[in-house]
Point group: C2
Chain length 528, copies 2
């Protein structure tokens, strides 16, 4: 049951005087429960507990961490209807989405449980000694990945479960051996509190140290700012706006001891539609993209906000079809009045840009907080000249850039900011083959490239990259999705000539965990 308090470790606490409520955008009214923002003292206590917890949590075995992660998944499922109802009440999203996102969250937790239980993820590497080597003996060196320390995770507005309290960042950090302090997202503080209660229960049931997790309520920027600047915090995970992510990145970079910030931020996810594909299946593509642009009311970070093609009659037909198809879709609810406010405002600003043509802009009356989708077009040279047109309009909005020719298309791609994804729509591989320079230009700007599909839908699997060149993320060398996202929270550590019995299990001669290790340049599960 929600009570509006913070979790400072396993203790519920509400010492502050600053309160706020969440909002039900479908009913267009505030929800009842009053949340109490964390005070500076509560923040300090949460960080202190996390630092203390780190001393033991960082040595907890993979098997124990797996029990913890699976227990979190179990406790989240045990929240059952209360969680689903709270999620819907705080996000305006439908029950099906709530259940789907819960499924994904549980899947992520269990995937990390499997990863750490198996154990080879630490990339154990052993180079044995050569005492007789000339001119100098070679020492014995053994390496593995170890956790960075306490991590702060910022809940994301558009994924109350999968990218928030017990989402991918948190699951990866726990798997790594890092305590987590969540800065709860104010739009879904109740969902956050419920999931936090599940994590606390799981930690207690599986014997994790108090402080391995805290959940701090916050409606402004103060709590997050204080957390990121705290000397005992060693890394930050964030999903949200460029402005928010960059502010945290700057704070972290200006610390006496800078720390890594992995922020997954804005992206317009360019889609390049090649001429033959446009000619042969323009109508079908228009229908598919009308669906992708409006999916989840356009509130996915992989929403296709930019469609690029070379001018032709087929392109004109496609634009008309897209306008028709998108107008058929029923407007749907956005997450919060602030989100719809920003959408309406950004859409208006974009539509006021010189040279932009509005080809579809639903005008009919809609419920409060429901977003009206829109499609615009612009000439290639106009897009090149005005970088305002490159900005993301978060919501069901997309822009079709009509390029003069393939060279202009390539130039536009090379001028784009970094993106999470790009999509190539081609008449099978033959047409793609003719546009290899376009493909090459796209690859240089993004983290993932899709063939004849849509960018929405981020499969959680080891081969997924969710990240990309700035500003898609603050560090393109990592992914936010999939088991490799654990690498954001770990560092390599090496033991030289260390006695076998004092080594961690992963590096002992006898390989008691039976993990895969690189021994003198050979991958093996064998003993030394």
């Amino acid at each position: 049951m929600m009570i509006g308090k913070n979790y400072i470790g396993n203790k519920q606490s509400a010492q502050g005087s600053k309160n706020y409520k969440t909002f039900n955008p479908q009913l267009n009214r505030e929800n009842e429960i009053l949340f109490t923002e964390a005070t500076p003292q509560e923040i300090d206590e949460a960080v202190y507990l996390a630092s203390e917890a780190f001393k033991t949590f960082r040595t907890v075995s993979g098997e124990q961490k797996a029990l913890f992660l699976n227990a979190i998944a179990d406790e989240i499922l045990a929240l059952d209807d209360e969680l689903i109802q709270t999620y819907c009440m705080e996000s305006g999203l439908p029950e099906g989405r709530a259940k789907g996102e819960r499924g994904r969250t549980v899947f992520q937790l269990r995937s990390f449980a499997d990863l750490v239980k198996e154990g080879s993820w630490v990339e154990a590497s052993i180079d044995t000694a050569q005492p007789d080597r000339e001119p100098l003996p070679k020492p014995d060196l053994r390496k593995l990945l170890i956790p960075l320390g306490p991590v702060v995770v910022f809940g994301a507005s558009n994924f109350p479960l999968a990218y928030s309290t017990a989402g991918g960042d948190t699951a990866a950090a726990f798997a790594a051996g890092c305590p987590v302090i969540v800065k709860s997202h104010p739009m879904h503080a109740g969902t956050g509190e419920l999931v936090a209660s599940a994590i606390i229960k799981a930690a207690e049931k599986t014997g994790m140290p108090n402080g391995v997790f805290s959940n701090l309520n916050s409606s402004g920027i103060e709590v997050g700012t204080k957390l990121v600047k705290h000397p005992q915090i060693k890394a930050v995970g964030f999903t949200g706006s460029i402005r928010g992510g960059r502010a945290l990145y700057d704070l972290a970079a200006q610390r006496e001891e800078p720390i890594p910030v992995f922020a997954e931020m804005g992206s317009v996810n360019p889609v390049v539609i090649l001429p033959n594909a446009l000619k042969n299946r323009g109508a079908a593509l228009a229908k598919t993209y009308a669906g992708s642009i409006t999916l989840g009311t356009g509130q996915f970070c992989t929403n296709p906000g930019l469609l690029l093609a070379i001018k032709s009659e087929a392109l004109s037909n496609f634009v008309s079809e897209l306008a028709n198809e998108i107008a058929k879709i029923e407007p749907s609810c956005m997450l919060h009045p602030n989100i719809i406010g920003a959408y309406e405002s950004n859409k208006s600003k974009m539509m006021a840009q010189k040279g932009l043509t509005v080809v579809s802009d639903v005008k009919k009356e809609v419920n409060a907080n429901y977003a009206r989708q829109a499609i615009t077009t612009v000439e290639g040279h106009t897009f090149l000249e005005n970088t305002n047109l490159h900005q993301e309009v978060f919501g069901p909005f997309s822009m079709v850039v009509q390029c003069k020719d393939a060279n202009q298309l390539e130039l536009i791609i090379s001028k784009l900011e970094g993106q999470l994804t790009a999509t190539l729509i081609a008449e099978e591989k033959e047409e793609a083959h003719d546009y290899s320079r376009i493909i090459s230009a796209l690859q240089n700007r993004v983290g993932r490239i899709i063939f004849n599909g849509v960018p929405t839908g981020v499969e959680v699997c080891p081969s997924m990259v969710h990240g990309g060149p700035y500003p898609a993320s603050t560090d393109s060398r990592f992914t936010a999705v999939g088991i490799n996202s654990i690498k954001r929270w770990v560092r390599p550590f090496s033991y030289q000539d260390w006695p076998n019995e004092l080594l961690p299990q992963e590096l002992k001669d006898e390989n008691p965990l039976r993990i895969l290790r690189q021994v003198n340049n050979m991958l093996t599960k064998d003993k030394i």
Copy 2:
């Protein structure tokens, strides 16, 4: 033959009017050749060429990159005596060191050649499609590591070969597929130019694109600053002082598009000597450590600048022995008048700190630029109270901290800044076992921990970590030494539903390169 010009790609160029010479510290006089600093136009041209070269270099096969890297090694060896003499003339280091460092440089280049020729380093990962999955089909996803783009490498004063022009950073960047622009170190511009000529020759012989490498002369901070701020530069490698590395890190973080800076910086490399070890072999340890502290005139980043022990008669004896042993060692030459100047100044400042006792300070007359080694001691509480005492004195200087008890020792360790290494000297594993909290505290502060050895000597092998928590490096998640240092310059990239024949070799169904890949969670060299 040296001519004092920059390499802007394969063209020798000296359009600027700012000149400087290198210095022979052994002879205490300037060397003859006049080096011309790169102009802003030359910098822009080098970056332009690097960006253009990246378009093809990033797709060059591992086999071709291996030929290039091995050719660099060959060309460096072909420079023969001219290189060794120039190295010695510009560093004051002995010929044996020059040859040893050349051997290491060549070994590093060949290790990266082997790595990319074999090819599995790209961490190829494939998750095949499941078109019938419910509720949604699973797409085919395939991932590999790709290069970031043009990298700037700053030459290090203390390793004219192994951490400079064709050193570890450059070799790793080439292996990754990144063009490199070296900001040559002004103290060894001639050595740098010779090695640059070897790289250019190798690039031409193996058909690499012009601009894959440039070498820019620079005596101040302007060239480096402009390079790091250049929008087309995508990453930076640096080895040097905390002040220098932090300045570059700040510049990079303040860019519109922040880029990764891997700076390997200061470290005092704490050595903890446990009581029984001190009692049983204090004299031998004193001799060993006198050697380690003065090795290379104390100019290694792993120099043991801080010895920590619990007070006892044995510790007093050890301090006396260490003072005796170090006084026996002949002073030797530092790299440059600026380096010896900084050493003398920092040593004096340190010796002026309240509570510091000087137990050995060689006073005898020495040649110009020769460093006089020194040993000091301080009480544990004094060290805790005065963080000036935690600073590095780059050179043959060390401080023995006499701790009240094990608790104070642990507290001191927990208060230390991040370090490259820590060393534990124990009477075999039994004594180490009794001090597990000390070991745990050390691990939390460093990148590598050594048992009963010395920190000097950095073995180049896959299990080496050369890096550590800030300020040892700007990002503890990477190492500067060993093949894994390639990870600083690459990012994961994923293909979704991409046609097999358009995929890179590494990800094709038939696995034509026969590399090890993770396919549906199984490591295998098999085809799909």
